[in-house]
């Protein structure tokens, strides 16, 4: 686990263009972003501003059209498919808006899934799954299927799945988007606890209330970062102010 404040992710000049038939959609235009270990970042902005696209690129779910992405000072684009899968498995924990639990698997099996890809022995897997479910308060539902859970419970299981492998960073894409306000707040409180425990979190949200849970809010508009509000770190990254580029 990295020390708090150590550089973790560095994006420079990231562009993403979608080509559909004869139309070019510039989803991201020249994004520069640095994330340090222990950061809790929210990315806010109106629909279509490129928040989810940015998060997808951070999670190696999508590839940019241009730009560089360094994770732990190593260029992600130098990685082959197997290495990228390994990075997704070990370094990144993704929490989706639609939960994306696998319906034919129990709660236990869903949380265990990324650990099984890592080749962790069964006993160790059981221990880690138990610990993760304990942290999110879902141990009592370990044998249930997603269809037997409420939306809030499903999202908590999704959080457990994301943290079970102790990733370097948690990426959350509108984690409360499909939840009512009570459940949404519960999930946000959970994320806050995880951050206090040392997790690095980058969260996309369009809800300004939830954006305030983060220490640093990046505002996006039309594929660009227009404002980067943090309480301590503006302009400190390698001496260059982020927002000035």
């Amino acid at each position: 686990m990295q020390e708090r404040g150590e550089p973790l992710i560095h994006l420079e000049g990231i562009r993403k263009i979608f080509y559909t038939d004869e139309i070019e959609t510039h989803a991201l235009s020249g994004i520069h972003l640095a994330i340090r270990s222990g950061d809790y970042i929210s990315i806010a902005g109106p629909s279509g501003c490129g928040k989810t696209t940015l998060l997808s690129i951070l999670g190696l779910l999508d590839t940019p059209t241009d730009g560089t992405y360094r994770l732990r000072d190593r260029s992600v684009f130098e990685l082959n498919d197997v290495e990228r899968a390994r990075v997704r498995n070990r370094e990144i924990g993704f929490i989706f808006q639609a939960f994306n639990l696998i319906g034919d698997m129990t709660v236990f099996e869903n949380v265990e899934l990324p650990l099984s890809y890592r080749g962790i022995p069964p006993a160790e897997r059981r221990k880690r799954v138990g610990a993760a479910l304990e942290r999110v308060g879902m141990v009592h539902r370990v044998r249930h299927y997603p269809s037997q859970l409420s939306g809030g419970q499903q999202q908590r299981v999704a959080v457990a799945r994301a943290i079970a492998g102790e990733p370097s960073i948690l990426l959350a894409d509108e984690p409360t988007g499909n939840l009512d306000s009570r459940n949404g707040e519960q999930v946000m409180e959970l994320l806050r606890e995880l951050h206090r425990g040392g997790s690095t979190i980058c969260m996309v949200t369009h809800d300004p209330r939830y954006a305030l849970y983060a220490d640093r809010t990046i505002h996006m508009f039309d594929g660009q970062i227009v404002r980067d509000e943090s309480d301590a770190r503006v302009g400190e990254w390698q001496g260059d102010p982020i927002g000035a580029r």
């Binding site: 779910l61 999508d62 899968a85 390994r86 498995n89 994306n100 696998i102 099996e109 899934l113 890809y117």
Partner: protein, 795 residues
């Protein structure tokens, strides 16, 4: 390795659970794949040995049948024998039935071949035990020997010590000198033994078939010279009537064509039909699996996001396909066995049915192919993920509808299935119409409530002994429980040509030498078979040995030879005695040979009044009621076996079955093709239902929005139905076009129906439209009941 095995185990457990949660999809996919594996094994197990596998002879391309089967007599063969230019060898053979007498056991009838000593040499076949015939063993006075089939040898103990033992065959003791290897058969798999015939140069009778091996370097299509030479030599020695002049049109038929050629239309029709069914099954499975792609893509995208690499994804999909394939293979084994038996009964294979064996290697190959196909299709979502955008795969559709490309693919698959179903239904319709016409033909006998028991007597019995045996058994048969009438005949109707006799009519010397069908019967024959007397009388108890010889003729004979006069009282001379046979009655025409024959002259005489009696006899029993028929059949057979010590029962069946066999290949192939057409209709319906269901599912949001904006439910219903019927219509059009091009292949099986009969084709299209409409109606109704509120709320 341990991690790998563990991951396979996890994937297998997950696959089983995932498949268990989708019973409809799994049932359809497994059933369809099983149909493919099992059906392939069953059909090819039959077609391969008969049409594709080499015959159990050496270099079959050099072996042919001269002129026609049964064309030759002993004198002709012996005259030609020393020298057959252009041939390495020539043998004559004839199928015959021999009785096997074993002390303490009932007389057993064996189907055999009587041949000249060259037979095995010509065929290039060697025994597995002992030897084949030696030169000279076919001469009169030679030591009688026999060569057994592998199956008969096993029936008799399967011991090599059988060589040198003696068997009592047809009253004579023969030494067993050889046993043929397993898998050898000639000319059909029911032949159990081969014996040398004693050929005499003075014998001008016989129905032998000549089989020859072309000399090395020769070709079947270049034998006209040697054949013409044989024809010329025949002309130098023998005189032939114009209509049977053997010196004209010499020919040679390849052995394969002779042995199995008649099966080709039926087998090819079955093979083509099954291939089409298999194609439909593959298309159906493809469509079913492609329908799973959407949901699977999301799952696979999530797994990829969690760190699964491509190998892991592929492994999971392959494991699931293997699980599906193994389930299908298990069911396929059952279907293979069931299908094999059904096809054997349904196809007009005759004695060649025994050459077919269910080949389990074909089932294994077909199962493997099914697994490979299922794997290939199941990898589609992995390919989609590999090429595309994980984020969009997990993001779900933001708009309703489907990708245009996948919709076209699925529509194309459904159209293809419907086309195949129409094609098969059209073929089945043509055959069914043909069979209806055939079954509508009046054979002239009452086929209901009648049982037939075929039996053979040993050759060593004299004519008198045979006649007495037949007549003495009749009272016992008449007295069997449930029997109303009993009679015997040397040949009953509907069993092909044969048994003709020359005819001369007293007072009509101008008549050219001719023959008519000649039937030796017992007194109650016409009553038993329900043949009405049209003129004069039936046979009476006063017609017996020593009294005036009488005959009953049929209407066709009366019309031909007594066109404007009463035939009663006229005398026919058949060479049975100087006094001839007095015509006492005229009966209605009966289909003496084939069901579709026009009426031909025939005449009937009594067993008591002819100086000879053939070896074969058919006993006919009429039951008092239809319910009693099965027991009458059993009782009749038992009576013959118990009371008729001189008889070996060959077969016992109902006259209805004889009639069905007379309907011929058309009837059997029609049944089979109807079954396959039914399967095709079912698969077509599944295809239409599945495709329209997925169409509706993908458009659910569309319909929700439109209905929220005011579209009435019935419009949604008609939109979906129109889509379904449109696909069925296109498929039907293509199917009809295919039918017009291909149904002429069934021409040889059709009777009274053209290959392009419009009613049959129209019926096929209507069947598909009906089935397709019903299949589309269910999802259409579901679509019309879309709740706009819940659909829009989900977004």
């Amino acid at each position: 390795m341990r991690r790998l095995l563990e991951s396979w185990f996890m994937d297998a457990l997950y696959s089983l659970r995932r498949l268990a949660a989708r019973p409809a999809y799994v049932s359809l996919a497994v059933l369809t794949l099983a149909l493919g594996a099992g059906g392939t094994a069953a059909v090819i197990s039959i077609v391969r040995p008969l049409l594709l596998a080499p015959l159990p002879v050496r270099e079959e391309s050099r072996i042919g049948i001269l002129w026609h089967p049964g064309d030759w007599n002993e004198a002709e063969y012996l005259y030609l024998r020393p020298d057959f230019p252009g041939f390495d060898g020539m043998a004559a053979y004839m199928e015959t039935d021999l009785t096997l007498e074993t002390p303490g056991a009932p007389l057993r009838l064996l189907h055999g071949v009587s041949s000249t000593s060259e037979l095995f040499r010509v065929l290039g076949a060697r025994p597995a035990l002992g030897r084949a015939f030696e030169d000279g063993e076919d001469r009169p006075g030679a030591e009688p020997v026999a060569v057994l089939s592998h199956q008969l040898w096993k029936d008799l103990g399967g011991n090599s010590s059988i060589l040198g033992t003696r068997l009592k065959l047809a009253g004579s003791s023969r030494t067993v000198v050889g046993v043929m290897p397993r898998g050898f058969w000639f000319p059909d798999p029911t032949v159990q033994l081969w014996v040398p015939a004693s050929f005499r140069p003075e014998n001008h009778v016989g129905n032998y078939t000549l089989v020859g091996r072309i000399a090395g370097g020769g070709r079947m299509d270049r034998m006209q010279g040697p054949l013409q030479g044989i024809a010329s030599r025949l002309g130098q020695q023998f005189q032939y009537p114009a209509q049977w002049d053997k010196t004209k049109a010499p020919s040679i038929t390849p052995l394969r064509e002779h042995l199995v050629g008649s099966l080709r239309p039926s087998l090819l029709a079955t093979l083509v039909a099954m291939a089409l069914i298999l194609s439909m099954a593959c298309v159906n499975v493809s469509a079913l699996m492609l329908g799973q792609v959407g949901g699977r893509s999301t799952e696979l995208a999530v797994r990829t996001a969690l760190g699964a690499d491509r190998r892991r994804l592929v492994q999971q999909l392959v494991v699931e396909a293997v699980v599906l394939g193994l389930l299908a293979g298990t069911l396929g084994a059952f279907l293979a066995s069931l299908g094999f038996g059904t096809l054997l009964r349904a196809l007009p294979l005759g004695p060649l049915a025994r050459a077919a064996r269910l080949d389990w290697s074909l089932w294994a190959a077909a199962t493997l192919l099914g697994i490979v196909a299922a794997t290939a299709i199941s990898l589609v979502p992995a390919i989609v993920i590999g090429r595309g955008n994980l984020a969009s795969a997990m993001g779900g559709a933001r708009t309703g509808g489907q990708t245009v490309r996948r919709g076209r693919l699925e529509a194309g698959l459904v159209i293809a299935q419907v086309a195949v179903a129409v094609l098969l239904a059209a073929g089945a319709g043509l055959l069914l119409k043909s069979v209806v016409k055939l079954r509508g033909i009046d054979p002239g006998v009452r086929v209901e409530r009648a049982a037939v028991i075929d039996a053979t007597m040993p050759t060593q019995l004299s004519f008198d002994e045979r006649r007495r045996a037949v007549l003495e058994l009749l009272p016992a048969l008449q007295g069997a429980p449930g029997v109303r009438w009993a009679a015997a005949a040397q040949k009953i109707p509907l069993r092909g040509t044969g048994h003709s006799w020359s005819l001369a009519i007293e007072g009509k010397p101008e008549l050219e030498a001719t023959t008519t069908y000649f039937r030796i019967v017992t007194r109650d024959y016409f009553k038993t078979l329900g043949v009405p007397i049209r003129q004069g009388r039936d046979f009476l108890p006063t017609d017996r040995e020593g009294t005036e010889r009488v005959t009953v003729i049929n209407q066709a004979l009366a019309a031909k030879y007594f066109p404007n006069e009463d035939p009663i009282g006229h005398v026919i001379h058949s060479g049975l005695g100087t006094e001839g046979e007095h015509i006492v009655g005229v009966v209605a025409n009966v289909a003496e040979a084939y069901l579709t024959d026009v009426a031909v002259p025939a005449r009937y005489v009594l067993y008591e009044q002819v100086p000879f009696a053939p070896q074969q006899v058919s006993f006919v029993l009429t039951a008092r009621s239809a319910d009693a028929l099965p027991s009458v059949l059993r009782a009749g057979r038992a009576t013959v076996e118990r009371e008729g010590h001189e008889f070996a029962v060959q077969d016992a069946e109902t006259l209805q079955r004889v009639f069905e066999e007379a309907v011929g290949a058309s009837g059997q192939v029609a049944s089979l093709l109807s079954l396959l057409a039914g399967v095709a209709l079912l698969l077509g319906a599944i295809g239409v239902y599945g495709m329209i269901s997925q169409f509706v599912t993908r458009r659910t949001r569309d319909y929700g929005i439109r209905m929220a904006l005011g579209l009435p439910p019935r419009s949604v219903l008609s939109h979906v139905l129109t889509r379904g019927l449109g696909l069925v219509g296109m498929g039907s059009a293509i199917g009809i076009l295919a039918a017009l091009l291909t149904t002429r292949l069934l021409s040889s099986l059709l009777y009274g129906v053209g290959a392009h009969d419009p009613m049959a084709l129209a019926a096929a299209v209507l069947a598909l439209l009906l089935v397709g409409s019903l299949a589309a109606l269910v999802p259409a109704r579901r679509a019309s009941r879309t709740d706009p509120v819940s659909v829009l709320r989900e977004e």
